[in-house]
Amino acid sequence: MFKQLSRAPGRIARPVWVGLAGAGGVLRELMRSPQSALGTLIVLFFLMLALFGPQIAPYRANDQSSAPRLEPGGEHLFGTDYLGRDVFSRVILGASSIFRTAGFGTLIAVVIGTFVGLFIGYQGGTVDEIAGRVIDALLAMPALLIALVILGIVRNLNFEPGSWQARLADNSVLLVIALVYVPIVARVVRSSTLEIKTREFIEAAQMRGESRLYIIFREIFPSVVPALVVEASLRFSYAIFLVASLGFLGVAARPPSPDWGLMVNENRGGLYDLTPWALEYPAAAIALLVVGVNLMSDGIRRAVQKSG
């Protein structure tokens, strides 16, 4: 109730993300709490798998030269599946696809959503009103449902192989992730923008006769970044989950891709009783990565909030 209760005294230094400009700075900030340190290590671990998977994995993803249904241990750390594929290698190799789709999908969503949010937020008025309603309408639909509908349609279109449509269709999951998250990112950026555009430094810029683009990108955008970073990391964790779910539902990845969701789906039912390891390891990988990203994004949120 007293005004100083909410914040302990102490001078605020430079804006966190300016201070954290180097990747090392971000890491140092995240290592402060055990939870976010753990989350970050998990994410880094998987990122390493994603980048160097082919060098690490002892077998190729669709190598069926080993005996099928071998229990974990020995040469096959995670056993082999019903086709004789090394589950350990497949889990490792699956990391890159999930990072690629979820990562780039989130990136595209963040870029487009930021543009949209900044412009409608700064413009205000009718534009904002209409865009706000559209965003609300989009947000009313569950992301998974939208994704399923769109992917369902795209899957059944047959394009000329190699044509641009086909290339687009090949990346449809990534694009769908981007699409369903654009309104969410836009909304976050918009609300930050609405708040920031009333600040006096914006008026100072207007009084200098600055262009709209200058004000949006030079004056407003930097202040949006902290909220954006938090949102992006949160989106990334949801995107991983969404990609895994879509993989499980068989619309995200084409067999024999070592997509984790697809692996879970492929080894369900009767196969689960025969080769539980073929399902459990990829499922554990999904769970671990989602938890890791969540812990990390909590840490990012805390780090950013610290800057006020």
Binding site: R14, R199, G209
Partner: protein
Amino acid sequence: MSMAEAQTVLQVENLSISYKVNGGWIRAVRGFQVEVRAGQIYGIVGESGSGKSTAASGVLRYLAANGRTELESRVTFLGEDLLAKSRREMQPVWGAQIGTVPQNPAAALNPSIRVGEQVAEILRRHRGLSRQDALDRTVEMFRRVRLADAEGIVARYPHELSGGMQQRVVIAMALIASPQLLILDEPTTNLDVTTEAIILDLVRELIRDEQAGALYVTHNLGVIAQLCERVIVMYAGEIMEDARVEDLFVHPLHPYTIGLLNSVPRLGQTKRDAGLISIPGTPPSLAELPQGCVYAPRCPLAIEICKTKPPLEAPMPGRLVRCHRWPEIARGEVSVIGREEKAVSPLAAGDLERERLLTVENLTKHFPIRRSLVQALRREQPAPVRAVDGVNLNIQQGRTLGLVGESGSGKTSLARLIVGLLDRTAGTIDLLGVEIEGSVRQRSREILSELQMVFQNPQNSLNPYLTVGQAIRRPLMKLAGMNRRQADREVQRLLEAVSLRAEYAQRYPGELSGGEKQRVAIARAFASNPALIVCDEAVSALDVSVQSAVLNLLAELQQGLDTSYLFISHDLAVVAYLADYIAVMYLGQLYEVGYGRDLFLPPLHPYTEALVASIPKMDPQDHTQPVRLSGEIPSPRHMPGGCRFHTRCPHKLGEICEVEEPPWRGAGGEHYIRCHREPDDLTGLQQWLLDEERE
């Protein structure tokens, strides 16, 4: 000293409070002590970061999750050790025995419960009263805090009440269970001066009647002088001085106290009289406290011994001071005022008139209200908010026009209309004889460069992600047409002009104190070498010691550059200090204009008179407060007819005030009053001002 026999309510000894920040413990309050007796109001005064609120919270054991009270601390309330109690045992203390009034009443009230219920609940819980009895007592209490229509107000929700009414409800809430101790933390800081005066009267009266002890936390020395019996001056978490109020104001012993008292402009003091005496530097960060005396880095009397920690000494009974050199100060052997601040050059009478820089005629801003469904069906257009309603004024070259008024008077809207941040509804603005466009978007670069602004809130006026250098460089390049190299050189010059070191160009606003930020904002405003700078509450958010330095800076810059100011503030003393002319605004219209000094001598517009009367005087002996404004400022949507001030005017003539717009009347020289009463008539009513002046 009849009070000496009064019972001790609260005894605090050696209270130390720490916060955990970034893994380390910061000692925000160190060795705080106080003894509050029944019926006594004990003030705690200090600037932001001095630990005054933290100390009060520590007494109450309301600390943030990252805060802790150190082991050696002792808080005894009515003979009981509060620090030994569990949270559960504290409940009756918090609920009934200690009342609290926070700065923000809205945060203390539950928005979804009727205010009467909230207050009555305390009685039902802690006094076991029935619902009806509790409500009856609540109505009675509401009457005592002078809430008009107390029966009606118990059934209202907090959002239906104005800030002043909310604060009265909170005071009623704090007092309802007849607590033995009241803790008030800046309860009037967010209120207008007219409302503040009423609340202070109320607090004084209630404490006297209830014979409770009170701790009153504030940054405002005037409030202390008017209200308190004793006062503690805090700085950087430590007690600097503890004295009876009369002693403190007359014979301050600590250099910091002396600095504080000197840096507040007294009503009627102007820049032509003398410069304000300010305290150099800024308070230290609690994380990096200086060795020895915490005030030494800013103290003009600091000598070698001040590198060791001064003890809290008692020069005489009932008085404490923490300074190595207090005996010399007491004997008058040293003076804190090292150098006389330069006054702005005095003016010969004929010099006052200069060419008009800016002329505003019939400037009007009405904010349309969105139609409700019913209104849309009835094809009615709701009355707009008449924020600014036909204002005429002019500003001369190199002069300052001060604009005063309560919040809601439209002064900020007027400023924003002039600089073009708002589109006007009607009226014209002439700059150097040329009519200019209404909106910044339409204004040419030349006009933009002539009109700049210094904003109220230093936190918000600088982009936290741009360095000081970038912030100042941009207008230089954009408006003054400089290239990068010229601009960088000019940045250095401007920083120097606002007394900041060149290295500040590389810093981010987050690394600056409030005063430093405001200096940067001033440098930025001056970058395009404008003819007029609008300062909207430019020093209101600053601590007094810093405020005086910024006021001095503004005065110096004006003299050097011949820039005009439109200086807006709710603080009449500050406006009077800086302004050559003053305009008084109420509900979108001007009611009085005149030279600075004119505004404190009769005849005055009754509204101006009330403003002057409401300011808490810096003199503990002076309790003359004959004029109080009743009621709240009306909503600008439902504007009173005739003279807009008639609903609150203590000198209302009669029906004519309600029906007819008052005329402008000359009160001698360039002094005009807009009132139905004759100036002579007003002079007669305002004799008390002359009496005061004579003292």
